[in-house]
């Protein structure tokens, strides 16, 4: 056994331990903290698996935004905890669940061990066609060109989720401000951080998007970083969330899928198929879509974390 594989086993054990903790922890809040740590550790695993793009996304979403979402929800639901805890199912039920889960895990494990030795791969195909787009990052190629329909539909899913969250607001609050108004001392420590960090964060976010063309990065992690910076400023009370009826906000929200669709339909008119990029313009077109998508992702993710409207627009 080499040092490297010992390290991998240790990392896997730590990840599993953390996962176990998020399941068995008594308090939900503690489990949420565990989940944040778990997200960070998973980012390490992804780097180890040579999937840096995924690691970036995991670090941004799993360690950052999910953490904020879950911590916030856990803090607000704290009061309801004791009663819910009393509903813990009985021994037989738990035993059955454990048996079922163990079976499922064993099936997964067996399928991992039984994967064919000459692993099927699309990497050569992705490499052979990379010339067509002029981008150096194969994952971006797959996301933006070879499987662009998936990415387009995924944007729609994001928007649908946001519409779902918004529609949970009571009628009188429709069109209001999402989330609570954060009061903060404008001279306080948090406000200081909210002034210091976002400029750096925005530069990093744009850098990650830009690097995504040729190196690991891209619209998802970049947009998530931007969303986090926006939320930081909101949480510090330096600015408020926009009303959900704001026209400008809605324009930003549809910018990404909109540009994507226009380009896709253009491909139908000019080229051969929906989302077929003319080879000469492939790179600029993809980058234009990426930029529009980054804005949309940042706005959508930020608002998803902010939650349903809780204050009416009238105030």
């Amino acid at each position: 056994m080499t040092i490297a594989s010992a390290l991998e086993m240790a990392l896997a054990a730590v990840v599993l331990g953390m996962a176990m903790w998020t399941i068995v922890a008594r308090e939900t809040f503690a489990a949420a903290v565990g989940f944040v740590v778990y997200g960070l550790l998973l980012a390490l695993v992804w780097v180890r698996l040579d999937a840096v793009d995924v690691a970036l996304t995991e670090a941004a979403i799993g360690g950052g935004l999910s953490g904020v979402l879950l911590l916030g929800a856990a803090a607000r639901l704290r009061a309801s905890e004791t009663r819910a805890a009393a509903e813990r199912p009985g021994g037989i039920m738990r035993l059955g669940a454990a048996a079922l889960s163990a079976t499922v895990a064993a099936a997964f494990g067996a399928s991992v061990l039984l994967l064919p030795d000459a692993a099927p791969t699309l990497a050569p195909a992705a490499a052979a066609n990379a010339v067509a787009t002029g981008l150096g990052n194969p994952v971006t190629n797959v996301l933006m060109a070879f499987r662009a329909t998936d990415t387009l539909l995924e944007k729609v899913v994001l928007l649908l989720a946001l519409v779902g969250v918004w529609s949970l607001a009571p009628d009188r609050l429709w069109g209001g401000y999402p989330g609570a108004r954060h009061q903060a001392d404008p001279l306080g420590t948090l406000a200081f951080l909210a002034r210091l960090l976002p400029p750096v964060g925005i530069v990093v976010g744009i850098y990650v998007v830009w690097a995504g063309a040729n190196y690991p990065g891209g619209a998802f992690p970049g947009g998530t970083i931007l969303a986090a910076m926006w939320l930081l400023v909101i949480m510090a009370g330096l600015t408020d969330t926009p009303t959900i009826s704001s026209r400008r906000l809605r324009l930003v929200l549809i910018a990404g899928p909109g540009v994507f669709l226009v380009v896709g339909l253009g491909g139908l008119c000019v080229g051969t198929a929906f989302l077929a990029y003319p080879v000469a313009y492939a790179k600029p077109l993809i980058i234009a879509i990426e930029i529009a998508m980054t804005l949309t992702i940042a706005a959508t993710l930020g608002l998803l974390v902010a939650g349903a409207p809780e204050r009416s627009a009238g105030r």
Binding site: V15, T28, S80, V104, F108, P120, T121, V142, L304, A308
Partner: protein, 113 residues
């Protein structure tokens, strides 16, 4: 054992753990967390499929990687929607139990636990 196998088994175990938590934990928020664990275990299994497909100079097959990135974003949006539903339930019912017989779900708020 190669890195792919180690983390693959880890992913399988994570999926099992997540499923267990999803069934056993009574609190909805915990169920959401457990569901995310389950999802991440499956993502890791995708990741090792990608890793094993390393070819053509890439460290990992880009297609499963792209699928995982898409999946993570979708999982996040589903989580956000679930959390919002839960908070709304808490607002209207004053409790977040999923038990249909619970008095809280019939509109009265009692402290029977």
């Amino acid at each position: 054992m190669s890195a792919a196998t180690v983390f693959g088994l880890c992913g399988a175990a994570l999926a099992g753990l997540g499923l267990y938590g999803l069934i056993v934990n009574p609190q909805p928020l915990r169920k959401i967390v457990a569901f995310n664990l389950l999802g991440s275990g499956v993502f890791i299994i995708f990741g090792i499929v990608a890793r094993r497909g390393a070819a053509a100079g890439f460290g990992a097959d880009p297609v499963p990687q792209a699928l995982v990135i898409t999946g993570m974003v979708v999982a996040f949006s589903a989580t956000a929607l679930a959390v919002a539903l839960l908070l709304r339930l808490f607002q209207t019912a004053g409790s977040v139990t999923l038990d249909a017989d619970s008095p809280a779900n019939m509109g009265t708020d009692s402290v029977d636990a």
